[in-house]
């Protein structure tokens, strides 16, 4: 890893670029790209919705562009950033290094450009977009798979299966697009896979966040008045237990398959309701009392509620309730995906850059903005609602949320570490 690629000018430029703090760790460029791209995409989409301004022409039309870029552009940037940082940590292996960070983010950017231009460049452009997008995810899998596989207990293989399923969704999308079919069904598969990845990732993150909140709560209880010993017994540690999580994952996977095979079927509707119940069932582990109301724990908790509500709405819609299917779908994407990615940006993004968690109020404003965006977008699909107005409000609230993230987290990602760390380490406390 340490030897230079070559000594031609391009190689030198590459190395000079990779030496910047932005490429100190895999999550930095990708989380920055996630936040900035989220704002950019929805600004363009807002212009399209409100003023009829054009969006990049791709085969299938504006909605396909919107869905593909938010799912496979924005969403996968966050996934890549998370895994490039988390996999070495989970498997206790060395970090991936600056060149991989820079190379992957360049590949991601090229894939974005190619897809944006795919409509104007004709068939060659579409092939290029397909190759770059599918190749980007393939490269990510190739990078993380050996580490996940070689882990002695293979505790984190779920990420690998998720990435594989996501790759199939992405490849299917581009195969459909190249074959002239409407590729939207693959985006819905991608949403299902993303929900699974969120459940898997949150189970890891929540162990830390919720238990930190419980520790703070114990401190608060014991700090004020002197309590008798044994009070702590009432606050057992939080554990994300596998059986409930596996039921939820199984449900999401089953729904995704049934919906794909029998699109719009009532069977899928019942399964969607089952998924909603299974996700609510997951929250049993989370009901730990007051500690749940702390900022980070509650943000992650809200993700599950949005997910459950999304699947419930999808189910009702498929069973014939007067709700558009996209109302539920957007609770999953804008809500569960938008809020969880924001939470990961805040939590993993700051701690692995050497900063303590952010306690400033902008976090709450941004999170509330994203939740409001999800609710407004969902409400626009209910009967008798002002659709255009609510969608514009939703887009604006999303831009606010991720705009704040780009502003306040961007400086963290671009800047050097405040401590003596040189890579992805969490906050180093001087002895």
């Amino acid at each position: 890893m340490s030897h230079p690629i070559d000594h031609k000018p391009f190689g030198r430029l590459f190395d000079r670029l990779a030496a910047r703090p932005l490429f100190m760790c895999g999550f930095r460029p990708f989380f920055l790209a996630t936040a900035v791209y989220a704002v950019l995409l929805l600004l363009i989409w807002l212009g399209f919705l409100a003023a009829g301004l054009g969006v990049p022409a791709v085969r299938g039309g504006p909605v396909v562009w919107h869905a593909h870029e938010l799912m496979f552009g924005f969403g996968l940037a966050a996934v890549a950033g998370f895994l490039l940082t988390a996999v070495p940590e989970f498997t206790a292996t060395p970090a991936f290094g600056r060149r991989i960070a820079l190379g992957m983010v360049l590949l991601w950017t090229a894939a974005r450009l190619a897809f944006w231009l795919s409509g104007t460049l004709g068939l060659a452009g579409e092939v290029l977009a397909a190759v770059l997008n599918v190749g980007f995810l393939g490269a990510l899998i190739a990078i993380v798979a050996p580490r996940l596989w070689r882990d002695p207990e293979r505790r984190h293989l779920a990420f690998l299966w998720g990435l594989g399923a996501m790759w199939i969704a992405l490849a299917g999308f581009h195969a459909d697009a190249l074959g002239g079919a409407y590729p939207m069904r693959w985006v819905r598969v991608g949403v299902g896979v993303m929900m699974v990845l969120i459940v898997v990732a949150l189970s890891r993150i929540s162990m830390r966040i919720v238990n930190d909140a419980l520790d703070a709560e114990r401190l608060r209880r014991n700090g004020g008045t002197a309590r008798r010993h044994g009070e702590d017994d009432e606050l057992p540690d939080y554990r994300a237990r596998p059986p409930r999580r596996n039921l939820a994952i199984f449900g999401v996977a089953l729904y995704t398959v049934v919906e794909f095979v029998l699109s719009g079927s009532v069977i899928a509707g019942w399964v969607a309701l089952a998924v909603a119940a299974a996700v609510l069932n997951l929250l049993n582990d989370w009901h730990v009392g007051r500690a749940l109301l702390s900022r980070w724990a509650f943000m992650l908790y809200a993700v599950y509620w949005l997910m459950a509500a999304g699947y419930a709405l999808i189910g009702l819609s498929l069973l014939g309730a007067p709700v558009t299917p996209s109302a539920g779908l957007h609770l999953l994407t804008v809500g569960a995906m938008g809020v969880s990615i924001f939470g990961v940006l805040c939590i993993a993004g700051r701690t692995h850059a050497g900063h303590e968690l952010d306690l400033r109020p902008w976090v709450l404003v941004a999170a509330a903005g994203l939740v409001a965006a999800a609710l407004a977008r969902s409400a626009s699909g209910l009967p008798g609602m002002p659709m255009a107005g609510l969608q514009a409000v939703s887009a604006a609230a999303w831009v606010l949320g991720y705009g704040l993230a780009a502003r306040y987290l961007g400086t963290v990602f671009v800047g050097p570490r405040p401590d003596s760390g040189t890579g992805c380490e969490e906050v180093l406390r001087e002895a």
């Binding site: 089952a274 119940a277 069932n281």
Partner: protein, 263 residues
């Protein structure tokens, strides 16, 4: 009182854990829907039309009296078997000889299919309430009897010896030594017997009476009305699920808790 408070404090978490059961039930509905799609509504109506029919039955007031008649019969037979089964079982358990003697009899009772009892009951009681009540009694009795018998047979003699050594008052002896132990055996038996009673009564009504859910099922069958059939089945099963999970299961957990703690 502390038991009640512990029960109330655990109630939200218990109710919330019901989401897992609800998820499974929705998957069952999905499978039901798939079967109805494959085989058509005549063989298997889809869940929504079955629930729609059920709603019409409830809304029109047709379901109430039938369910009430069924519940009355099931509960009378069940009450009789709880009374007789518990008392006789407890008494039989006190004596080694009596429990040895009664075991084969219970096996005979358990082994005789309820439908055989039903035929006998129809000969003895005709089309009256007696037929379903008796059938329920005979089907539920051995389950409770065995539970009660086990309860007294497994009483810890050493514990009794200790209680006697400490000269525990009779009342305390009964309430704190015998009762918790016996109840932890009796209660599960009562729950199992309730399920049996509820199933057997519908079968008895189907063949032997003019009213009740079983009779309604017979009518809907003769009309080839599968939607109404499924509606009645959903009503019966739904009631049983509600009683079992909302009332009996939480109590059972509380009753059996000392066992887990002891283990």
């Amino acid at each position: 009182m502390s038991l009640l408070r512990a029960w109330l404090a655990g109630l939200p978490a218990y109710l919330w854990s019901g989401w897992g059961a609800i998820a499974s039930l929705f998957l069952l509905l999905a499978a039901w829907e798939a079967v109805s799609l494959v085989y058509g509504p005549l063989v298997m109506p889809d869940p929504r039309s079955a629930f729609g029919t059920l709603w019409v039955l409830i809304d029109s007031g047709a379901a109430g009296p039938e369910l009430a008649a069924t519940a009355r019969r099931a509960l009378s037979g069940y009450a009789l078997s709880v009374l007789a089964g518990s008392v006789l079982g407890l008494v039989a358990g006190l004596s080694m000889t009596a429990s040895m003697m009664s075991r084969p009899l219970v096996t005979v009772l358990m082994g005789t299919p309820p439908i055989a009892w039903l035929v006998l009951a129809m000969l003895w009681f005709g089309a009256s309430d007696g037929t379903p009540v008796f059938t329920v009694f005979v089907a539920a009795f051995p389950v409770i009897f065995i539970g009660a018998l086990q309860g007294t047979r497994t009483l810890d003699n050493q514990l009794r010896g200790m209680a006697e050594a400490f000269r525990l008052p009779r009342r305390m002896m009964f309430l704190d030594v015998y009762l918790p132990h016996v109840v932890s055996y009796l209660f599960p038996a009562w729950i199992a017997a309730l399920g049996t009673a509820w199933k057997v009564v519908v079968m008895a009504e189907l063949l032997a009476t003019q009213d009740g859910v079983g009779a309604a099922l017979a009518v809907s069958r003769s009309h080839l009305d599968t939607a109404a059939t499924m509606a009645w089945i959903a009503a019966v099963v739904g009631l049983l699920l509600a009683v079992e999970y909302l009332v009996l299961e939480p109590v059972k957990r509380e009753v059996e808790r000392w066992r887990e703690q002891g283990a």
